[in-house]
Symmetry: C2
Subunit: 453 residues, 2 copies
């Protein structure tokens, strides 16, 4: 037979069973957290009409998009979950109840140049709240608090959600008479972390900003400290621009509510250098950094926008949303050795080994285990005992249960804890209780375990 | 602004939030059931190299495939989950532990001609057990028993898994001296339900089968009755063909174990007319019909094969698997009015309505609810009371909790059961207990509710 060498395309993540289980646990953490906050799951097609996906105009994205024809149709693969959301809300406007809160976890596609840690197929895990005409500011604080809880439920603790407000930036540049250049200035300021303040000053002046204004900008973005200190410093600019003042009010409200939502100040900070894109966001914006690995960049970003679907529908649809790029985050966590070795990645909690030809007693006991919510596999292969144990070992299955003639005749099962090597005969119901208790303990292990730095 | 009319491609299912919640519940039932039997989740890319996907040769599939180039790469979207599994096992052979049990739930793509109830993007929900060289017959009984439990957990009861064994068919046609024509004959016999026995006889004779052999074939496929009766009738053919005899032994074993696995005879039957494809399956084969809607065809099919990945790797990899086409099943269930109206499809269990300007008490109570596993949304919009209640009504949210000055000062919350209209003030912890109990009752509602026929 002519054989073809099996391979997976570069830029596409495909995991072995153990890591896949860790990835699933992270997905599950997100689904659970998003659901607990009353977000409805949404699923949209991976393929859409290219005209629909590119309605907004593509820019960089357009070059990366997977686009092809099938019959007469000009098709494309979605490159994010926001455009499909906009389409969905516009299409189903009359059937939705607003504020519409949806989460969507799905794969998106970008034909980027392949390089380490960059993916062409990757999971985005988004939440958005969409209002019909209006949307309360409290949503802008709730969204990062959900992300805080989502990361915590995965075991991530040393991260910080950085918050800013686009109105503050717009208002500030207006004050400086630089309103029209504000987009370009924000792009330059965005490089602060990378190139430092003096280089930013040079670049600003090269682009025609006066020395005085450049000084003002550098003073402004140098405002740091606790959230209250930053807010206090911003008060010093109040009264000179309406948009700015509104932005400060909003930011103060978001900071207040973030505390009410239970997010410790360690995990969020006002950061005036955050801008996030240029046209789309209009209010609060977010970025999230890992405190021990700032070089990774933002692992979760988003913000407030005023016009979700203007290119599809003549309705003002303001919203606020945030997105986790889970595939890249997973990759980065792996690179940094952040996975919890104590998390069970075995596909089953128990391997039931029938020691008789008749499998029926083993099947019955496995049924009892499953009724108790325990994952159980009956090992039905005709192999030597050693091979059976080796199977459990290799898969790191926590418990093995033996069912031989003796146990069956006594109505007992023999339970072996594979971690300790302890082995004891017990009644089936007691075995279920023991294994369930152990499973519940193990289930508390989170997929991520941060190293002490 | 130039607007583009929002639309979703035909042949692509996109659901409103309520039905989406039902779909998610079905996905969850499958994930849970598959996990309880010790299957590891697998996720493979939607895009693969066309050469890889078409290694086996496409036939009908090749015409339907979404295939395109990106740069120099000849790419295609997966059209099932079996070819990606074969690639995965061949690629990772040295890293997997066999028998390798995996489930995969994911979208696949086929550019079929659009028609009602046919989808170009649809979910397949597969389980397979792959052996390294050998695989015990007990797996061939376990697989349909898992499907039985999966369907039951969704609320489906009136279905029947029809089981046959390809060795019986191969052996039988060999006995008749029709071994070389057996593929064509099976295709003809497969039409029995549609065209009736006499038409099948005519077609067989037209294709060169002797009158006597055609008579033998019709007698054979007319064997019906209880599983034991069919097995007894098959005994009458024993001793004439080794493959046939082996098939009868396997079928008898599968029937015996299916009972041990707890599948009632009402839900599975031996059916000698089932053949399932032509080259791939070599042992037990399955189809599943809805008893009240046989016209829908098989809702879950699969079988035993001997050579999963021969076109990628020089290793005998026998396996057994089954697949549910969930998108089509969901569509059909909807058409037949099978969805359970009592299932909660609201995105949240509780809507918390703050009646004061300060949202903090509402946020605190929602946090308490979530800690108890209850989905809770704080309604933060500045709307009239009536509009807030209408939001809960429209989304069919089971409970609304009011937090006014009075309740806050007394440390109480006011809980309204939206189904009964009952409203009472209670302590927060009591409210959590009440809502949780109600949630647990409601969670017992399954997504499918069959009508009495």
């Amino acid at each position: 037979m002519d054989r073809i060498k099996p391979r997976t395309l570069s830029g596409f993540m495909e995991l072995l069973p153990g890591p896949q289980m860790q990835f699933e646990r992270m997905l599950e953490s997100l689904r659970t957290t998003y659901s607990l906050y009353g977000f409805a799951p949404l699923d949209t097609p991976v393929i859409e009409s290219a005209e629909i996906l590119l309605a907004k105009g593509g820019g960089e994205t357009e070059k990366q998009i997977y686009r092809f024809t099938k019959g007469d149709s000009d098709l494309a693969l979605r490159f994010d979950l926001t455009v499909p959301l906009a389409k969905y809300v516009a299409l189903n406007y009359g059937h939705l109840t607003f504020p519409f809160r949806r989460y969507q976890i799905g794969k998106v596609y970008r034909g980027e140049r392949a390089q380490r840690g960059r993916f062409r197929e990757f999971y985005q895990c988004d939440i958005d709240v969409i209002g019909d005409g209006k949307l309360d500011i409290s949503n802008e604080a709730e969204i990062p608090s959900i992300i805080y809880n989502a990361f915590r439920s995965m075991g991530l603790e040393r991260f910080r959600i950085r918050v800013n407000n686009r109105k503050i930036l717009t208002g500030f540049y207006d004050m400086q008479g630089l309103g029209e250049q504000s987009g370009e200035i924000m792009r330059t300021v965005d490089k602060l972390d990378k190139i430092g303040a003096e280089k930013v000053r040079d670049l600003l002046m090269e682009s025609g900003v006066s020395q005085e204004a450049a000084g003002e900008i550098l003073t402004f973005i140098a405002i740091t400290g606790s959230n209250q200190e930053v807010l206090a410093a911003l008060e010093g600019y109040r009264g000179r621009n309406e948009t700015f003042d509104q932005g400060v009010d909003e930011l103060a409200t978001v900071v207040k509510y973030l505390s009410a939502f239970g997010v410790p100040e360690e995990n969020f900070s006002v950061d005036l250098t955050i801008a996030r894109g240029l046209d789309y966001y209009t209010g609060t914006v977010y970025e999230t950094v890992m405190l021990d690995h700032p070089e990774i960049g933002s692992i979760c970003s988003g913000g407030r926008y005023d016009n979700l679907a203007g290119y599809y529908i003549d309705k003002p649809l303001p919203g606020v949303g945030i997105s986790i790029g889970l595939t890249r985050l997973f990759y980065v966590l792996g690179e940094q050795g952040y996975f919890n070795e104590d998390m069970v990645t075995a596909p089953t909690d128990v391997l039931v080994l029938p020691m008789t030809e008749d499998l029926a007693p083993a099947i019955s006991f496995a049924t009892l285990l499953r009724a108790g919510g325990i994952r159980a596999q009956v090992y039905g292969e005709q192999k030597k005992f050693k091979a059976k144990m080796s199977y459990a070992d290799k898969l790191k299955i926590p418990y093995v249960v033996f069912l031989g003639e003796e146990e069956i005749s006594q109505g007992m099962v023999k339970v072996k804890n594979m971690a300790t090597g302890d082995q004891q005969a017990m009644e089936p119901v007691a075995a279920v209780a023991l294994i369930r208790e152990s499973k519940e303990t193990l289930a508390r292990e989170k997929p991520i375990q941060e190293k002490q730095v």
